[in-house]
């Protein structure tokens, strides 16, 4: 291919891209946000550490609150929070009560046309936790070991699957994720498998614990009205920036405490993709 034909191809692509941009459907929400300078954020502020209302000040606070404020800062918008019960969040979007929902909202495969999801910013799938310095990071390393889970939880479901995959996996079941993590801290179990929120909180509070692999995904993302493609694009761009420049990591440290992952250098080549991919 000659230089001229490459230039022509690039030019043609640019023209096509600009044309497609011109033909994008109007996004009334984004237009309204731009005109008012205010982004209305809906959340169910009863889910610490993601969002709660401070009992004394009455202010919204938590990981999602800081995330939304940072988004506002980067887009040059003021943020106005509205407290809405979890079951009403999608309806709030559809009835134009809010512009975006940021509320530890799990991404759904089938949202029945009620919303568009932004880039995910947190994975609340089940995650292994083990002592700092453990020489294993994945479920398949648990042969001959003991695993602590919360009875009936997603970690319990996964644990029962792995009981059939491994020849010798012993599972201890506890009433809460905190008890399962405590069992690891006290040496009663080799690892715990709990939801990522509990895992991160546990690691944040106990310097002897570290995060291992995610065994599944429950991704949290923002949601906008199904017609708000331009707003979604703006939010995606900012979230991407925040994931890359360490802002999201800093917010995790702020709301979950210091985070540590199990050292994997050399010994476990399979561990790295799990610990880096969708770690948020």
């Amino acid at each position: 291919m000659t230089k001229t034909s490459i230039r022509t191809s690039i030019l043609a692509m640019l023209v096509l891209l600009s044309l497609s941009a011109c033909t994008q459907p109007e996004d009334a929400t984004w237009t309204s946000v731009q005109n008012s300078g205010v982004l209305r954020v809906g959340m169910d502020a009863a889910y610490p550490p993601f969002e709660v209302i401070n009992a004394e000040s009455g202010a919204f606070e938590g990981f999602d609150v800081d995330l939304a404020l940072e988004i506002g800062e980067r887009l040059g918008l003021e943020i106005a929070f509205t407290n809405i019960s979890f079951d009403g969040l999608y309806d709030a979007l559809l009835t134009n009560q809010v512009d975006v929902v940021i509320s530890a909202l799990p991404v759904l495969d089938d949202v029945q046309g009620r919303a568009l999801f932004t880039l995910p910013y947190f994975n609340n799938g089940d995650r292994l936790v083990m002592p700092v310095g453990a020489d294993f990071v994945t479920m398949s390393d648990l042969e001959g070991r003991t695993l602590a889970v919360e009875l009936g939880s997603g970690g319990d479901v996964e644990g029962r699957l792995w009981e059939r995959r491994l020849r010798d996996l012993n599972i201890y079941r506890y009433n809460t994720p905190a008890e399962a993590l405590q069992a690891v801290a006290e040496g009663q179990a080799d690892a715990a498998l709990v939801d990522a929120i509990s895992a991160r909180l546990g690691v944040g509070q106990n310097p002897d614990l570290a995060l291992g692999e995610h065994v599944n995904e429950i991704l949290f993302a923002g949601a906008v009205h199904p017609n708000s493609r331009r707003l979604k694009a703006q939010l995606d761009a900012v979230l991407n920036e925040m994931l890359r420049d360490g802002t999201v990591d800093a917010l995790l440290e702020r709301w979950f405490g210091p985070q540590r992952e199990v050292e994997t250098s050399g010994a476990h080549p399979l561990a790295r993709p799990y610990t880096v991919s969708l770690a948020h």
């Binding site: 169910d44 009863a46 889910y47 979890f86 079951d87 759904l108 089938d110 949202v111 919360e150 009875l151 009936g152 939880s153 319990d156 479901v157 029962r160 012993n170 599972i171 201890y172 079941r173 506890y174 009433n175 809460t176 009663q188 939801d195």
Partner: protein, 374 residues
Amino acid sequence: MILAWALRIALVGFAVEATSHMPQYVVTGEPRPVETEHPITCVHTRLTDEVEEWKIQRTLSLVNEMGATTIVEFFPWAYMEGAAKGDYYWDHADMVIEHARAQGLTIIARIGLVPEWARPERTTGQADTTLNHLDPENYQDLADFVAVFAERYQDEIQHIIIWNEPNLAFEWGFRPVDPAEYAHMLSVVYPAAKRGNPDVQILGLALAPTLEPVGSQHGMNDLAYLEQFYQAGGGEYMDALAVHTYGFKFPPDDPPAPEVLNFRRAELLHAVMLEYAQAETPVYITETGWNDHPRWTRAVRPGQRISYTIDALAYAEENWPWAESLCIWVFRTPRPTFSYPDYFTLVTTDFVPKPIYFELQAWARGWTANQTNP
């Protein structure tokens, strides 16, 4: 060359077309018994909207293996006599009932949902009626259907619940809830059902546990409703009381109180029965359970849900001699709701049994519980 490719494509197309409409071959098999040490164990299935036969079979097979003896299943009138009066479609009901029989399960059939032809015609300026709207002049249509249903399945179904939660405005077609009117409906349906199958047991009420006061536009307190139902003479037209009782945040031994919605609210309903000389009338708990959604305000932790559910079954078995069955809402749903109702299920839509399934199975079948903690 082109002709050869065209022939190949045509052959592939023919093969795909020839096999795509073939029904899936599902073998019902010989009836197998339920192995259980606690026959009170029952689940509410949700097979109404399940299209594929293998899923119906798999669901009921899992119910059998869990050690539940009984299912509650919804058989919508609107699905079975939807086109016109007397024009019946039984295929789906036949399929569900045949597979339940093969798994040795007792069926409690819930009948509701009104066909369009039995609802008032639309008139300009009036809101549409809902699938739960049945005017008194059409009670006989429901009675005629129940008679045909009871007769058709007289060998397989001995328990029929008429309607669902009539103390809620939504379930009563957004008309003002009215215990006397429900009693009137039963008075028309009951004799017809007995004509269809003299042995069939008609279960009444299946009230929603609610604290809504008398006069509320949303519904009526279940205790008040039951009182007024008996005062209207409704007790003559049912053989057993269907009860819905949920634990919400409370453990199963939480004491009953009129202003509290908890598992033992069933005892308050039973006390009303005694007040109206219904001591001999059996009770079927056709909906009960706890929810373990991580964010629903009325949910509990997954481990609590397991222990509360098993403790509730044991409590009912020991303390409620009048309770015939305790049916857990809900075994599995054909599709997820992506919200808190998914956390009532025992098995996921994809047929993955949740830990509560295994723990209930261990309890019902008398196996050692799956606990190995130090």
